[in-house]
C-alpha cells in the first residue's frame, strides 16, 4: 500500500536483480552533468570502485544517424543532435580549411552583425 516492495517482492528483487559484492559490476550510476561555465569551483566526484559509470559520450561516433525506435519516435531535439553529430563527423578529418566556414562566408553581410 505504501508503494514499496512487499517481502515477497523484496526477496525476488534481491535474488534476480540486485547487484552486490559477488557481481563484477556492483552498481550502475548515471553521472550528474553540470554547467562548467557556471560552477567552476565544483569538485569532481571520484567514481566509486566497482560502480559502472554510464557514459553518454563513449559511443558518440555512433550518434551520426538515427537509431531504431520502438513506440516513441525521435524528437526534434534528437534530430538536431544527430545532424550536429553528422556535421562533426564530416569535419573530423579537416585540416587548415573549415568547409563550413567556406560554405557560409559568402553570405556574410557586415551590416547584419554590427
Amino acid at each position: 500500500k505504501d508503494g514499496l516492495l512487499s517481502e515477497e517482492e523484496f526477496n525476488l528483487w534481491n535474488r534476480l536483480y540486485r547487484l552486490g559484492d559477488s557481481d563484477t559490476v556492483k552498481g550502475v550510476a548515471l553521472p550528474r552533468s553540470h554547467f562548467l561555465s557556471l560552477q567552476e569551483d565544483r569538485v569532481a566526484q571520484e567514481p566509486t570502485t566497482g560502480i559502472h559509470q554510464l557514459s553518454l559520450s563513449e559511443w558518440s561516433v555512433w550518434q551520426d544517424h538515427p537509431l531504431p525506435t520502438h513506440q516513441v519516435e525521435h524528437s526534434d531535439r534528437c534530430h538536431h543532435f544527430i545532424s550536429i553529430m553528422q556535421m562533426i563527423e564530416g569535419m573530423r578529418h579537416e585540416e587548415d580549411e573549415c568547409s563550413y566556414e567556406l560554405k557560409i562566408k559568402p553570405f556574410l553581410q557586415m551590416e547584419d552583425v554590427y
Partner: protein
C-alpha cells in the same frame, strides 16, 4: 534506497516482458542501468 529498489524491481519485471517477447536476454547490469536512468528521469 527503498524507493530505488522498488523502481528497480518494477523495471526488472517490465524488462522480463521484453525478454519474453523478443527472446533476448538483458543482463543484470543492463536492467540496473535502465533502472538508474528511469529513477533520474
Amino acid at each position: 534506497q527503498r524507493l530505488k529498489a522498488a523502481v528497480h524491481y518494477t523495471v526488472g519485471c517490465l524488462c522480463q516482458e521484453v525478454e519474453l517477447d523478443k527472446q533476448v536476454h538483458l543482463s543484470k547490469q543492463t536492467i540496473a542501468a535502465i533502472s538508474e536512468v528511469t529513477f533520474r528521469q
